[in-house]
Symmetry: C2
Amino acid sequence: MLSSLYVSAVLAASLSAVTAQTFQRLGTCPTLGCVLPPDQQDFLPGQQFDIRFEVHAPKNGSEAFNGGVPDDKFTATISKDGRSPKTISSFFKISEPAIEKWTFSWFEDLFAKDAKTPSVVNVASKVYRRVALYEPGTYTVTLKYYSGKTTTATWAVRPLATKKKAKNVIFFIGDGMTTNMITAARLLAHKTVNGKYQSLLQLDKFPVLGHQMTHSIDSFITDSANSASALYSGHKSTVNAMGVYADSSPDAFDDPKVETIVELLKRIWGSAWGAVSTAFIADATPIALTAHTRLRSQYGALIEQALNGVTNYSWPSAGGPDAYFGGGAEQFLPGPGSYKGKDYYAEFAKHGYSVSLNKTGLLAAPNNKKALGIFCKSNLPVWLDRNIFPENTKKLNNTPSGASGTATDLPGLKDMTLKAIDVLHTRAGKGGFFLMAEAASIDKQMHVLDYERALGDLLELDDTVQATIAKLKALGELEETLIVVSADHGHGFDVFGSSDTKYMAAQDDDRAKRDAIGVYLNSGLSQYTSPPPSGNVSYGTGPNFPLNWDPRYVIAAGLGANPDHREQYGVDKSGPRVPAEPVTDDDEDYYVNPTDRPHGFVVNGTLPTDQAQGVHSLTDVPVYAMGPCQDSFGGTYSNIDVFYKMAECLGLGQPTNKTITDKGRRH
Amino acid sequence: MLSSLYVSAVLAASLSAVTAQTFQRLGTCPTLGCVLPPDQQDFLPGQQFDIRFEVHAPKNGSEAFNGGVPDDKFTATISKDGRSPKTISSFFKISEPAIEKWTFSWFEDLFAKDAKTPSVVNVASKVYRRVALYEPGTYTVTLKYYSGKTTTATWAVRPLATKKKAKNVIFFIGDGMTTNMITAARLLAHKTVNGKYQSLLQLDKFPVLGHQMTHSIDSFITDSANSASALYSGHKSTVNAMGVYADSSPDAFDDPKVETIVELLKRIWGSAWGAVSTAFIADATPIALTAHTRLRSQYGALIEQALNGVTNYSWPSAGGPDAYFGGGAEQFLPGPGSYKGKDYYAEFAKHGYSVSLNKTGLLAAPNNKKALGIFCKSNLPVWLDRNIFPENTKKLNNTPSGASGTATDLPGLKDMTLKAIDVLHTRAGKGGFFLMAEAASIDKQMHVLDYERALGDLLELDDTVQATIAKLKALGELEETLIVVSADHGHGFDVFGSSDTKYMAAQDDDRAKRDAIGVYLNSGLSQYTSPPPSGNVSYGTGPNFPLNWDPRYVIAAGLGANPDHREQYGVDKSGPRVPAEPVTDDDEDYYVNPTDRPHGFVVNGTLPTDQAQGVHSLTDVPVYAMGPCQDSFGGTYSNIDVFYKMAECLGLGQPTNKTITDKGRRH
């Protein structure tokens, strides 16, 4: 079965890939019959999920078929390890769903987009909700349609893992963080003497290192929604999707779902869980713990899902986070950003949450109650602006209360993470806890080519990991806690030399300015770890950060992919960067921002001119692990394996529909 | 002692770093008194090395001192773990050397360079040759000069490691290879179905993964000489230097040396050893096994050193390689490229070597004799040109015999490596063997932004590692062989999307061409693993390489640092790339090459305009290990630790001047 499948998949892929690459009809479905979850997917035993079948009838374009009439008499079966196939409804003992129909359109390539000639596809579909496979092994799902066409999907249910080996898991995500950035951050914050580092990053001290592959199910570059979802559920998806396999229907909330790690933990062990982020809390990385949608931009609705679970379909609830700290007041203040315009501070409070709007409130919140902390609108200001250039934070109109003015008394990632541990440790019963803590602006600042602000937030993450280890030790929980630090994807960043800021500023033309850059031997040594020449500047940021963010000789760095921009190198003291902007406000054609980095030289971009920022990259990202099950994180693997390694360590692979009784839960 | 040293080092560094960064007087010597090896260096017990002291008297410039007269009455002592200090000659029981004097000059910064105002330094120096420290612990070396000035160096001798745990070590170096490139190579050569790889790289299957930091002793960006030397000797050095600490003297061969892994192996265990490279064999990575020089460009002299060892000073000899395969006939043919104009084919033959000049000869060479194989002038043509576009190799005038015409019947990295194993396995006695095999053109092709050619050579390396494992298994040596695969440094490369080559070629202006690039979801799937649409192209390159090197949708990739160039993406079928060239032949001001990538768009550079190519980058590089001692290679560490891990596994840390008798050696 498998080998004939490969042959047909290869043929189909080579046919459709010739026409469809930049755009795809449905990435997981190169033929006209779609099985979701598609071929080659893995499942944790007992993990709940939905199944959708689609039959496509393209009306026009290179794939036009059957006059645009989809076969609504398709049939589907499932069989395990060669046993006789059963219909989906009989196998899972559920009732047969009704046929759904819709139409969508897409462009086959850029020529078709320019010519405004979309291909239109009519669809017939069925979805089977909330099933699970308990027995490890190989399952074959067969969709038959158009009297003789067949699409087959082979699914693997992984081995049982019923024993909980780690009481707690803390999963740190440096959004967009690569090995290259970690290397650069070490250079800035840690001193060398004759090539020997006198101190190291906390990450450098982890006993186990691995690499994970971040690509999407249907594209080799991922976004943070899709990759977070893979890390939390063991199922890759499509850009902008989380906790679902993206289908072709217009509804962003009807796509076939998969159970996430916090839903599994709550159902099976009644564990406490939390999420902390320096982004707005409805952003992809924190929200993907509970989100089930094809559209990550449905921020308000996703906060509702985080609090109350999926309500339009029967689905295991994660019970609401026990600790939930970050930015993003827009989804909590009553208004256009919140779900149905409701006041989500009040909604959370109704469910027993303490609500903090600043660091003082956060630290004072009771550890035995569920805790919500929202400290500003949008993302938290970055570490560099909070700690080194605080004037920049005062320009913002971002109070979490909705009052006019600037959010003050802001916590950082370390404050939020340590408080979350206090709350989770206090609230967790035997089921332990799961905490995800995200350094979000490594990614956000790399997007705008602001290398120093990105690296500052990376150092804040490293400092937070160090403080977390000390905290767990003090609580007596270190030996029972698996700590994993990883990323969701990369940016093509690297340092390639130093730049003499004084020399560059003194040159008149763009080519002469480039002579300020020193490569190889002329890169010299890091000046970030030496006190400033004046000797009287101290940022008071402690041993894990640079002594001088603004030396004469700075790192010269770059990304492989840029919008038009100007490179000057060195920190921008006036706040986060806007490298490119459109000529008119309603335009999407970006040119170099004439006010950005005025002493630098112009570099024309390598991205489509409708991109205002840099983009994610392909590279595998590092995984650091310590604690129970640490050895399973060595070597190279897929991002979905990070989920399976954590889930197996947490005993989440169960042979029955294990559901903790309400009695066993803490509320 | 240590803490007061830190204080003075910090002050000194902050003073001198303000003036000197792009250029340094002597990178390991921020004060006017220099100890080489400098502060903070590590040693293997019994590893032989030289010690040099220098006292600097700058005549002019910001550091001008003592009227430019260096103190030639300086004194130096050494003490262990707080015992009373002894003079160097009494501690090591060697005679006191004579004072040497010289003058050198340097520029303090780019303004001084532009103004042509060098700083001139007079030097007094002494060098103590061929000493060793046998007792693990901390040693303090104190240089006193100018009646009261002091420079202190603290050295650490690592623990003894007397037991040989691995019989053999095979060390693969992907020159310039990063995790980002490995990720891209996997995408090109291995097929995914719905996000799941159907096969993997051999590197992906290694049980242990680590990261090593590649920076120099005196600059944060390294070159391949310096980094190879750190990997082979446990001592970081300066760009262009190998097997020595760079001093300030004009002689490129009098710098203080350190013993390398093959010199140690030959002296202690009489092991066989070999080097294989796709570069010219006198290039940095292969030659650093035996080279002791500050100038890597002394190619002819370094081949003489490889064959006969250091002859101007008493020094342990590595005894000449048992297998030595690569390009670089220029250093073997009698003429300007060879040492003293001699015929080094004849010199090697005199020492009992078989000499092969093509693949047929290589494969036929006897396994029980030492073997030299030089297959072309300069570097070997890359895998892509040897295997996919062989017409390109026919343009070259590169026969290894010196006859006019093209080198034919070329071996690849796999052929050379497997033959080297046959020779080494046959010749090795109880002492086992050490083989270094280098994929050199990953680096060389990244330098010229030729992503496909670089990735082709990376895939050749991976294929070679796979074949090596199979070979060792067949020989019954796998369990006794430590295999390490790593790199010497990176290039800031990453893939950020796909590009529609057809669409780009059809657009007229540079901004419109950039619209051909698809990012995130629009990156789509790799077309390199699908057969070409015509269905009738087969390169016959097997399962570990792409099926189609020239699909319509190609990877869009970039480096953070470039000369002016044109980006078109996709393979260049006409041969390796020249991205930038000067307007006139004698010029060093590089502009985009008007004949390169004619359908692409222009990207102005981010490097000094005298740079014709891309440059190395900062990033930590991966280390893959399997076999005896594999677990010691996990986590994050310095490149020198790769040496110590290998040396400790090989029992090279000895408490006496252990030297195998001639009887014990194989010749």
